[in-house]
């Protein structure tokens, strides 16, 4: 009987294997099952931005009433593009809906990782859409130049506008007492008077961090000076005389009239400067503008008004809408498309407008009581002129190259025109390597 109780290699291996199998089985069976969703699950990925506050506070509860179970996952702006692109491309299926920044649409479109929402039943031809906004949802673009490989492709609706954000002017009404300044010269001249009177510390504030932040701040100045970015063959032409004049004005005059540390300013610092009462005027998206009447978020509640961006030649702003795309790997694809159909309906858009967010349907701008003073001004800006950034999948790199050179010129306080020449050469070289010509 002795041998039967002996510990042998065989028994150890058998026992070990048995134990491993048993543990695996128990662990698998014992895993807590995900709770049954309270409704139609939709996992939304978004970057943290004040422009989405009305959606989070007022529309998500409404969606729940409609039977949607919304999971809202937020990340910092600087990491979302790469995170979502990796998710979409690897088919990881972590999200049902991305709330993209509109310049990212071409990258996702070229990689063919988003669902065809037109085929899903969303009508891109509805006349109620703001035309320039729904255009941004198509890849390849319906209008304008197309990158190589997509010249003959049929435009497909891969994204739908979600929040109609665009740049407008926010200004101090106790400094600019005649209403919104019409030109950049007015902004500076009246702003200086405000500084002299001790009402503000700086006439303007903007973002100076290289890359997306500085390009976002410079772009409306560039457009207002009459600049164009690319020609129809994707040759950079932003270093035209108009472009150079705008860059020189931006890194020279505007810097001299902004906080001394503006080179390192991003949206949080520029927001603090305008909401804290230090700056006289700012071109900004809705994120901080929506806080202008809330005494808990600004020291100058009641002193901030909105207007169309100043002009040199024309008053054109940069569009920067939140735009929704459904990844092909979305685990709850049907729910997301159903949610989008409900969300972009004229009724829900009216609710969005009432909640204080900029809608994407024209009818919602006309409601009796929009939830924020910014909304009618946004419509004025749309009518005055608002342009999207160029529709290329390589915009992130172009913006990076340009942003670095602009940032260097901003540090120096001069040489904006030369910075554009350098950036134009770098962009041309890069796009040549990428096979654009």
């Amino acid at each position: 009987m002795m041998h039967s109780s002996r510990l042998t290699r065989r028994s150890v291996i058998k026992g070990g294997l048995g134990l491993a199998l048993a543990t695996t089985a128990l662990t698998t069976l014992g895993l807590p099952m995900p709770a049954r969703a309270a409704g139609k699950k939709v996992i939304i990925g978004a970057f943290a931005d004040g422009g989405l506050t009305p959606f989070k506070q007022k529309i998500i509860p409404l969606a729940k009433e409609q039977g949607f179970d919304i999971e809202f996952l937020e990340d910092e702006y600087g990491v979302t593009l790469e995170k979502w692109f990796a998710d979409a491309q690897s088919g990881a299926g972590q999200y049902d809906l991305y709330l993209l920044d509109d310049p990212w649409v071409p990258q996702f479109g070229a990689a063919n990782v988003l669902e065809d929402l037109g085929a899903g039943g969303i009508d891109g031809t509805d006349k109620d859409w703001i035309g320039s906004m729904i255009d941004m949802g198509y890849w390849p673009p319906q209008k304008g130049p197309r990158v190589k490989g997509f010249e003959d492709a049929k435009p497909t609706l891969i994204c739908v506008p979600f929040v109609g954000d665009l740049q407008t002017l926010t200004y101090r009404n106790d400094v600019f007492t005649d209403g919104a300044p019409k030109t950049w010269d007015d902004v500076i001249a009246k702003g200086k008077e405000g500084v002299a009177a001790g009402k503000i510390k700086y006439p303007v504030v903007f973002r100076g961090v290289s890359g997306n932040p500085i390009v976002t701040s410079w772009y409306p100045v560039f457009l207002s000076f009459g600049g164009s970015f690319f020609d129809d063959k994707w040759n950079p032409i932003f270093n035209s005389a108009e472009g150079k004049a705008s860059a020189d004005f931006f890194v020279g005059t505007m810097k001299q009239n902004a906080p001394s540390g503006v080179v390192e300013f991003d949206s949080d610092q520029e927001g603090a400067a305008i909401l804290g009462g230090d700056a006289g005027a700012i071109i900004q998206y809705s994120g901080n503008a929506l806080k202008a009447d809330d005494p808990a978020q600004t020291k100058v509640a009641g002193k901030l008004d909105f207007g169309v961006v100043p002009k040199q030649q024309s008053a054109i702003a940069q569009m920067g809408i939140f735009i929704a795309g459904v990844p092909k790997s979305a685990p709850n694809k049907a729910n997301s498309i159903e949610f989008l159909k409900w969300y972009v309906s004229a009724e829900t858009q009216a609710k969005l407008s009432e909640a204080g967010s900029i809608p994407v349907k024209r009818s919602a701008f006309g409601i009796a009581k929009p939830g924020n003073r910014l909304i009618p001004v946004a419509l004025q800006q749309l009518d005055a002129g608002a342009l999207p950034r160029p529709r290329t999948p390589d915009w992130a790199k172009v913006e990076e190259l340009l942003g670095i050179e602009l940032n260097k010129a901003l540090q120096a306080g001069s040489g904006g025109g030369a910075a554009l020449d350098t950036a134009a050469k770098q962009v041309k070289d890069y796009l040549t390597t990428a096979g654009y010509y």
């Binding site: 390192e264 790199k397 260097k408 096979g435």
Partner: protein, 301 residues
């Protein structure tokens, strides 16, 4: 006959098991190594020889990505910034770490608490360290600005000035990683034999002579290992820069890790980024081998 055959079978099985057992034992570890080390390395090497468009491979380009690196001004700049950053940071950390280790070698009241306090920066998450330093450096609401204004000065311009931002990054790294040097060197000092030091004391050698003729030469291998380890680690610095400056202003603090990250994930040039990281890996490997060879030569002489 039947019993004999059964016995032979068992023996054969036993012998087979003897033969297979080491491999069976090795299999789980080997699978993990293949899965998490060898395959990714192979995949990275393969990616580095391909051109990518919109996140997908479109062509085999051989060593073109590697060749292109050396004419890419942005890469060369980031490499230069990285070399400066590593050289400065590791030098300061080695000197400070050694000095602190020598100081903390002595036994006095409160020394245990002091040793514990000194290693705190090292155990804080790098992202948190970067956020704290951002709050110190910010020109509009930072601690340095508050200090400067309290003394009648203006706003402290750290992150908006290329040189200051670079120095600020080095200071952050020195603050965070000197404790690692300190810890390694203190362990080294504590393991040195007592006899030579006692003999030197009996012979009347001064503190400097003891340090120059005994402590430093005996500590050289430990110091070299600490410097090599820290150098390799510093080449991979990412989190702090990502949070503190994102490589700016301009390109003043753009280390190769940041440039590589942007290239791979933001600009979707996966193949080019793979070539960049393979190149940096080889550079670091070459540095490590050189340091070890140098150490051996010094020991031999």
């Amino acid at each position: 006959m039947q019993r004999a055959a059964r016995a032979r079978k068992y023996r054969l099985q036993g012998a087979g098991l003897d033969l297979a057992l080491p491999y069976l034992m090795l299999a789980p570890g080997l699978t993990i190594v293949l899965g998490v080390l060898v395959y990714p390395l192979w995949d990275g090497l393969r990616a580095s020889t391909r051109a990518y468009r919109y996140g997908s491979p479109v062509a085999d380009v051989g060593f073109q990505n590697y060749v292109h690196l050396w004419s890419d001004g942005q890469f060369l700049n980031s490499l230069w910034v990285t070399v400066k950053f590593v050289a400065l940071s590791v030098s300061f950390e080695a000197v400070l770490g050694f000095a602190l280790a020598l100081f903390c070698l002595r036994e006095f009241q409160g020394i245990r608490l002091l040793r514990t306090v000194l290693i705190i920066p090292m155990v804080i998450t790098p992202v948190v360290v970067a956020i704290v330093f951002r709050l110190i450096y910010a020109s509009d609401a930072g601690m340095l600005t508050a200090l400067s204004e309290a003394m009648g000065g203006g706003e402290a311009q750290i992150l908006g000035n290329p040189l200051n931002a670079f120095i600020g990054l080095v200071v952050l790294d020195v603050w965070e990683w000197t404790p690692l040097m300190f810890l390694i060197l203190l362990a080294g000092l504590q393991s040195l034999p007592h006899e030579p030091f006692e003999a030197a004391r009996v012979d009347g050698a001064g503190a400097w002579r003891v340090f120059a003729d005994l402590t430093f030469p005996m500590m050289r291998p430990v110091l070299a290992v600490a410097i090599v380890l820290r150098t390799i680690d510093a080449f991979g610095t990412f989190d702090q820069v990502f949070v503190l400056t994102r490589g700016g202003p301009g390109e003043a603090t753009r280390l190769v890790s940041i440039y590589g990250y942007d290239t791979a994930f933001k600009f979707q040039q996966t193949g080019y980024a793979a070539a960049l990281f393979v190149t940096i890996g080889l550079v670091v490997l070459a540095l490590a081998f050189s340091a070890i060879r140098l150490l051996r030569r010094v020991d031999a002489s």
